[in-house]
Symmetry: C2
């Protein structure tokens, strides 16, 4: 008789970058979540054919890359910074213009979270938009996983936690789940799932974004499973993991 | 026509000691929550007549106080350390023996949280057991409030967060609530409230304590509104806030 083996991989949720030092990153796959809007926007950009994304933290870096001729997305407090081509709205990247390009994206919480994750065995970028692809990929891997919420200025935020809970809910039988932050994320997702917009309406980021009249962006970022891309960090840039064989064969010529 | 004034005081929840530096403690009342079992046990001890509690962090301090003749509660990994009178079970302190005594209690997460809170205007100790008294007291105060979860080794835990949510649910109309950790705590409490033991059954601390056969302690610590004491930090010790006038008049006496 064949019996199913119990899972041996662990799944954890880190609620903010200020807690990351409490987790051992070695041999872990870290999934960075900054769903409103950095990691959602990055997912869209790769899905629309951008070849690479270089996430940066400062406006100075943006200026440097702009001088070198790169298309730059630079946002501050939800608005495009004067002099740059793109802001942080996913809709700006649904365009032929970015195809094959290396895109520079400045984000505050997202870039910090990506930088801090580099000690892990692999950093990937998650969002509701590519959740199913992420889940499928993680099921095929052997390493432990850390779902890493970028939060807001070091503090906990609801939308990233709910996204971590959504991913957790798909992996309940594939991973050992034994810490309270993962349970909390899972419970909060279950509360939110039937009407995420309504659930997040009172959240702090939602209110901040509400003031900027970008409800359309928020609604879009909460949609599930639109894209199959999985942005993965290679040195300092993100590429779609599905394109790695193609790129490698191009390099070999 | 008389209209009700909107609240101007803020209520925040800090989910772990590792996030406390993100909060401005000045002019805040900090309520430390370490419900399984440190702050519950402290509440019981003061309710049963202990005059003061000195929370300490190390076994060395416990030995020093023991030599000086103080009754000492020293627990490690849920068990009483050899050579000391008390452990960390609330039932040990339901005794005439502690009446009028200064009690030394060693806790790991609780003591750390208390030490870190000292920059605030007032540190009080909360638990489910004295929740109603805490709520009534906070309603009468003008300062902002931080419900501070002691967590587990710096990480988020469910039981302290659910207690913060329970206190929040009583203060929704008295305080401005505008951060996501407070909303999350409130939501988690609402999920938990009808059967807290069942809700916490899968939590990490519950499982750790379950191995120690102290289910009776856990069940007791989840009971609401048993005692009216409010432990408040005065220099290095905790006393019941209700007894301050009595003690002051004795001192003047």
């Amino acid at each position: 008789m064949k019996t199913e083996k119990p899972p041996v991989r662990k799944l954890d949720v880190c609620l903010t970058p200020e807690l990351l030092h409490l987790y051992d990153l070695e041999d872990r796959i870290v999934v960075v979540l900054d769903v409103l809007r950095a990691t959602s926007t990055m997912t869209v950009a790769l899905a629309y054919g951008a070849e690479k994304i270089i996430p940066v933290a400062t406006v100075e870096e943006c200026h440097r890359y702009k001088k070198l001729g790169f298309p730059v997305a630079a946002e501050y407090l939800g608005k495009t910074i004067d002099g740059f081509e793109y802001g942080n709205s996913p809709f700006e990247f649904m365009s032929e213009k970015i195809k094959g390009k290396t895109l520079i994206i400045k984000t505050t919480n997202g870039t910090e979270a990506i930088q801090k994750s580099k000690a892990s065995s692999m950093v990937i970028i998650g969002s509701f938009l590519n959740m199913k692809a992420i889940v499928k990929f993680l099921r095929s891997e052997k390493n432990d996983v850390l779902l890493f919420c970028a939060g807001w200025k070091g503090k906990f935020n609801l939308e990233d936690t709910v996204c971590a809970g959504a991913i957790t809910s798909e992996l309940l039988y594939d991973y050992i789940i034994e810490n309270d932050s993962t349970l909390a994320a899972y419970h909060l997702y279950n509360l939110a799932k039937n009407d995420m917009k309504e659930f997040l309406k009172n959240s702090s980021h939602f209110r901040r974004l509400g003031n900027l009249d970008i409800e359309k962006d928020v609604e879009f970022c909460l949609k599930k499973n639109i894209y199959n891309v999985i942005p993965v960090l290679e040195r300092d840039y993100l590429i779609d993991i599905n394109r790695i064989p193609e790129i490698e064969s191009l390099l070999k010529g």
